[in-house]
Assembly symmetry: D2
Homo-oligomer: 424 residues x 4
């Protein structure tokens, strides 16, 4: 066990950190101005300044850094994780500058792992080159989407086609005009086993019958920076049968496989955000004077700062260990940890953001800082991939099983799980 | 000691509750549509449907219900408090329908108590009739406004005029075209004693040199429903010396006097909001099915509901007791309690709103419910009139004094303060 | 609605406060020394100094203050509540000095309400005179006693006798040699309806077959000051059929009736304890110097003090309102509130005690202060009458029902419940 | 970075785990019985069963496992850490069975590092062989010991002797008759610089003038299992000048050096305790039925279990990283992390113990489980080496400095500290 990154990773982190601080952060005012000039705020990804940053991301060798294997940068989850943290420090542009922004990342992973050569040629390649963008359509209105059997969108085979009818919402990125394709989860066989009813199909964004009903807002934000969160209606949407991703009935399994790496990315980016918030809190506390002293002298503010540091250090280690487990024993072996970071991250980072906001006074809630925007984003993570409560319940069940079924009285290993013990 | 309202108050509460449920809530869609048609979203208070509601508010005898004495409905703080709670249940329109919306309420109180007959004639009367609206300009950018000595806006006497220079922000209502006048707090004598440097003057909204720089946003909301929160620049703004409110150097004392009743109103409205959130949480939990059962069957959701009920019951009693103390021993005698409700209310209601949101899934953060909007509003209360931490510090100091200076060893009375013991 | 006690109550509170401070607290060293000299630490209630205090309690007219009606002091729950708070300030002796100590109080209430004239003559009268003490045997080992149907102790009718077999534990007071009688809850008819299976019988302490197995400890305390908490074994214990309390199958109903007033007593005493803890925290913080300043200057300590004050004020009001409801609409009408104070009190007071301990450093955990002892006592309240979680669950169910069954859309009254609305 | 222990460590952990489960835990009843037969409960370390376990500890090669270098087992902090966790699973006997019990461990470290050859011969060797025990006398009554300048015990040089006068308390182990020597911290030069006033001297336990005043209790426990916590009075206690440890004025520096490894031991043992508590909670929840279902089915209990797992995983990683930092960049380089684990550990483990207790009902507070005893022990850690608040304050200061003094705008490294970056 040791806790230092390998030198290559250290070097990449330094390179990325310099890029983010010196170029990406510095480009934000121009980005905002170019988006304002566009006339279509959803088309944020088309503006010249971002194209320049993307060019630089390629030059630095960090393009598609998230993607393991030959198609991406060839990094492990553990090697990518600290890079994801740094992109979280400039969350509006840095992920996009490296072609590492959700939901494209997960979609590229799905296509790389489950796509046919034709699907990869048609959709994966342009995504990898950053020429198009995509969306992932899973969540539905009116039902608890954390329970996959609740999914109501219907995908019916008719001859050589699939016909799709139903509704989705919170489909991030779908309102970006560069979004060319959606991976859509729906039911192909409602009579199959609980986890074999669902399939995924590729639906080009301009297919007739696919309609954007409206954009969902989060705390008043329309999140046009991410291509918004669309509510979609599918009315007799027809795609060729060859648009099926993987096999019929395989939708649930693909969704599960998609979860793990995305969770690491989300969590590390959130930690980057938390670090930015702590720095902002410290600077504000040092610079702000009330009743004759900087508020950094107030014990309560110091308590917030110390707690923030202590919490974020623990959280980061758990996320990194999870990445390492995924690299060494696979997503399945890291199942409990993947749940654990989903539970721990939003709660911890939300707490830190709340304190950073409080340190900034009302300004902390306004457009003058990005703290409130960050809070809104992190708040949604308490629902993303199902509410925290669902994950806690599942984690507790596993823990209960572990301590009550044990045949060997010494079986419940409490020391850090290693690959070997993890497999049991 | 007893815990029932007098029958007249009960009757008024029932009347208002019926009005709010049957008429105000029912009018919201039309209100939104009329505001949308206006072309000027800040001018919300001019739309016909609100005028109709205001007419009804007058008919029901609840017009200006907040204002004690002959000019208003003649109610005590304790009698008005439950009415404020009911208006909190429909926060966007109900306060306005009764001419009981901040910041007009506090401004009317100031004018009623400290205004000259001419000032009352010119500004108080049309405010009471609901013909104009007003704003209160105290908070400033760049300084900790919870420390009154930090106030930087300058009010200088030049002959028969006051000349005003400086900046203000978070000035709620100032962007409403019906806003005719602002009460502006500034420094008339920086060399005077700490709490005698400030004065308040009346500044008509259209005075040359007074400029709206921009609207502040809270999370992503512009709060146009409240006339927004303006950042203002005062450049050589001139008003007649007769626009002074009260005496020179009296600004701090007026600000303090203005606090008490407003605090009660805010807190009771927040409690009304909390009740609406609890109801929404219960209904959602009962109607939403996950994994085969309504989520109301989940122990964690029940824990939230029970905690919400237990917390809000305690909170309401404290606010009502504070109102009673203000009625019986005055704002000064109720000083600690007025601080206590400022500390307790936002925290409690924010917690309840968070749980209500979580129960609603991502929809709870969206424009489909008003929970996120309510959360944003309550979150600002943790800064309003100074951050919670300032109030906790002051309350603790008083408590420390009480227990360490006592001459009589039995002096520290821990039973509920009565008027008599309160005076000590 | 108003928040002052009536003058008679105020006067009684002042009398009791003087008595507790000047006489009861002052007697503690002598009490400890007399108990040490006894040779039997369980027989604490027999020492002369306590007899003297009891004599004084009678003279002051506060003897049996807890008991409504002619047999006691004739006070309402609301009138007794502030007296209970004051006895909580000197929890080891003050309740006993007034003959207001649990479990005798609840037992006297049961005998006064459900006892036959013979039972009252034999047991109630000497209890009221303070000549004997008693215990209440309900909780059992091995089962969740919060679920009454789990009760396993068997009470079988055989001719003119009841024969009792089974085990009980946590039977407070049973190890005091002055304990003359136990009220024992058991099953008379396991085949009856869920809540009609149980009955209560009077069992003289010296009945053959009744055996003290051991004393239970709480943290490391044996609580001999309260007569300990005994584990008891009943082996063919025989009592005359006339020892039945109330009717056969009435045990559950009596247990419910016994709960309400005892809950008020417990909660108010706990609030008295919290006030003592706040005072101790303030004095310690003012007197203790670290790093050159009294720790009262530390923001975190002030935060604790302010939070303690704000929480205890809210809590007291809720308990007092509950007492008032019991007086006006009965225990049944106050059902939800009786649950609410059970949930709120231990949690709040435990939090305050924890902070008071932390302010005292390690000394706060030691025998030099009574804070750790108090913490242990309050911690048990999170289990007393069933764990908090059971009560939260029940309260949430009622809340859910209230908001989902409503026929009248305006029916969910959120303003403070009055007797009239409470009856609905 | 990787998260598996080396194979030797894995093997040692398995060996120790088997020993603790099969032999140490199994020996507890006999240990209790032998101590009861002793007649002197403080002399616990002399009983035969413990001698046998110590013999086994030696055979297994785990004797003095805590001590780095040739005198101990030669393990790094990171290699010893998981062993400390396992000893925490059987906290009453396992540390003693390996001669790894506080305060002897810290004292052996001090003597190994700062002792003269004569001091090592006289005291360190018998300690290493387990023939004697020792105590560490630093904390004093009446002052805040977290501030070293508050120390009042006087050590005066008179000719060839030091003369010691003053008081100490909470001196763990001093009441054990096997305790042969104390390391005593006191002031040799009150006029020196703040951190150069203190020195440490060795005081044999039987030196005239050294008197045990009493044993301190923690929540009613006398902790005789650890040799109690003595209050000591030093009256003209004379020791030869050669008993000075290190140099005059070096006391503060030695105390600081002693802190780091002890902190790791404490924290890892606490984590072992937390794991035992989680297991107990799971077993109890699975076995306990209320209202017809095991309480493991209750959502709130599952929430506790999941939170416990998520929190303890994060905590362990932070402690292990701290151990690794101490091994690679030294105690000074690990300064912030050593503070962080002091802040995080007691709070986290106390929370878990509270939930484990709650799951057990009142039995959880009693002598039938060791949960309440464990809670008491962990509660004291919130004071050990100074209250948490002192450490939070210091950590926050460092964090504030880091973010406000930065010359290089990219200097604030938020990725996990590596040795290289740590040195900056």
């Amino acid at each position: 066990m040791h806790f230092a990154f390998d030198p290559d990773t250290e070097r990449r982190v330094e390179t990325l950190r310099a890029f983010v601080t010196d170029e990406v952060d510095a480009a934000l005012p121009q980005f905002d101005s170019e988006v304002a000039d566009l006339g279509d705020r959803w088309a944020w990804s088309t503006v010249p300044v971002l194209q320049g940053l993307r060019e630089r991301g390629r030059e630095l060798g960090l393009w598609n850094a998230f993607l393991p294997g030959g198609r991406g940068a060839g990094l492990t989850n553990l090697q990518y994780a600290p890079l994801a943290e740094v992109t979280g420090r400039s969350i509006r542009l840095a992920p996009a500058a490296l072609n590492c922004a959700a939901p494209d990342t997960g979609n590229m992973e799905v296509l790389a792992q489950f796509g046919t050569p034709e699907q990869q040629e048609q959709w994966l390649e342009p995504l990898l080159r950053g020429e198009i963008r995509s969306a992932f359509a899973m969540t539905e209105p009116d039902v608890a989407s954390s329970d996959a059997t609740n999914i109501g969108l219907r995908i019916e085979r008719q001859g050589d086609e699939y016909v799709i009818n139903g509704r989705k919402w919170w489909i991030t990125g779908a309102m970006n005009p560069e979004c060319a394709v959606l991976i859509v989860m729906g039911k192909t066989d409602p009579s199959a086993d609980r986890h074999r009813q669902q399939s995924m199909v590729l639906v080009p964004r301009d297919t007739p019958g696919l309609e954007v009903v409206r954009g969902m807002e989060v705390f008043g934000y329309d999140d046009h920076d991410h291509g918004g969160h669309a509510e979609l209606r599918f009315t007799d949407v027809r795609v060729p049968a060859s648009n099926l991703v993987g096999e019929e009935g395989g939708g649930f399994a693909i969704a599960q496989a998609r979860l793990g790496p995305g969770r690491i990315h989300h969590c590390m980016r959130s930690i980057g955000l938390a670090e930015v918030a702590i720095e902002a809190m410290c600077r504000r506390a040092s610079g702000r004077v009330a009743f004759g002293r900087p508020i950094a002298d107030q014990g309560v503010v110091r308590d917030w700062i110390a707690e923030s540091r202590v919490r974020v250090e623990q959280l980061r280690l758990l996320v990194l260990k999870t990445a390492w487990l995924m690299d060494t024993v696979g997503n399945k072996g890291a199942h409990s940890e993947i749940q654990a970071i989903k539970i721990a991250t939003p709660k911890t980072v939300e707490w830190i953001l709340d304190k950073a906001i409080q340190t900034h006074g009302a300004a902390g809630l306004s457009q003058d800082h990005e703290l409130a925007l960050a809070f809104a984003g992190i708040r949604t993570l308490r629902f993303a991939d199902g509410p925290d409560e669902v994950h806690k319940n599942a984690l507790a069940k596993a823990e209960l099983r572990r301590h009550t079924k044990t045949l060997d009285p010494r079986g419940a290993v409490s020391t850090p799980a290693t690959p070997a013990t993890k497999e049991n």
